[in-house]
């Protein structure tokens, strides 16, 4: 079983990333760096899309679909990161 103790401290609480090895720390920096770039680009895109689109319902729907995929992948990545020792 993978050790997820550095992610979940107690039910309902969430601890930020605390690397347990150098490899995990370096991989974490790369992963969170990529995540940050993607998040910034996503925010700009969502802002432009919602502000300037002629059909707000379509813009909102597509944005929500994108965000669901983005957060799913981000959480999956965070879990995978913890498996790296």
């Amino acid at each position: 079983m993978p050790d997820l103790s550095n992610l979940y401290t107690s039910p309902g609480s969430y601890q930020t990333f605390v690397p347990s090895s150098l490899v995990q720390a370096i991989t974490g920096v790369v992963f969170y760096g990529a995540l940050l770039i993607i998040a910034i680009m996503s925010l700009f895109t969502i802002y432009s899309l919602i502000k300037y689109s002629d059909s707000k319902p379509t813009a909102f729907t597509v944005t929500i679909i994108y965000l669901v995929i983005f957060f799913s992948m981000a959480v999956a990545g965070m879990h995978t990161l913890l498996l790296i020792q």
């Binding site: 995540l35 996503s42 899309l49 990545g77």
Partner: protein
Amino acid sequence: MRELFPGQEENERIYLVIREHWFTLLINMIIWFAFAIVLTAINYFLPLYISAAALAPFQNFITLFKDIFIMFMCLGIFMTWSLYFLNIKIITDQRIVEISYTSIFSHTISELSITKIEDVTSEVAGVFGNIFSFGNVYVQTAGKEERFTFDNVPSPDKLERLILNLYDQRIKDVPNGIVREIEP
């Protein structure tokens, strides 16, 4: 009334809001889905040729790389669709407006008064253009800007006819070749 573009007048009647034909979006999307095919191929062939790739710790690195790859791919698809969706041409009874996004960070809004139109040309070119009925419409103006181009729009012949009809409605010839606008 909802404002579609800056400077829109209250009594201005919008006839058409048009985007590029869906086929152009499809072509852009196919490029992004090619990345998905590459990912699927890596997923399938890598463990066959490098057996260690399927075992820890390398498996986790590969899974993480795939996560980042998919996130970038989704962002690319999202941005491509957003640019397609935001690039619109609006035809009203007074003007033609083009809102053009070259990237998410920059956009230009061009306007052309219906009264300044001199010539409208539609063009359907290529195999897919003929099959799916899309093409370009060129609007020649009297002003400094030589041509106003609608690229890859659906049914260019109908669009051309609409612009000319609006021009006819808007303009009335008067003696000595001088034109005046008809009050709406």
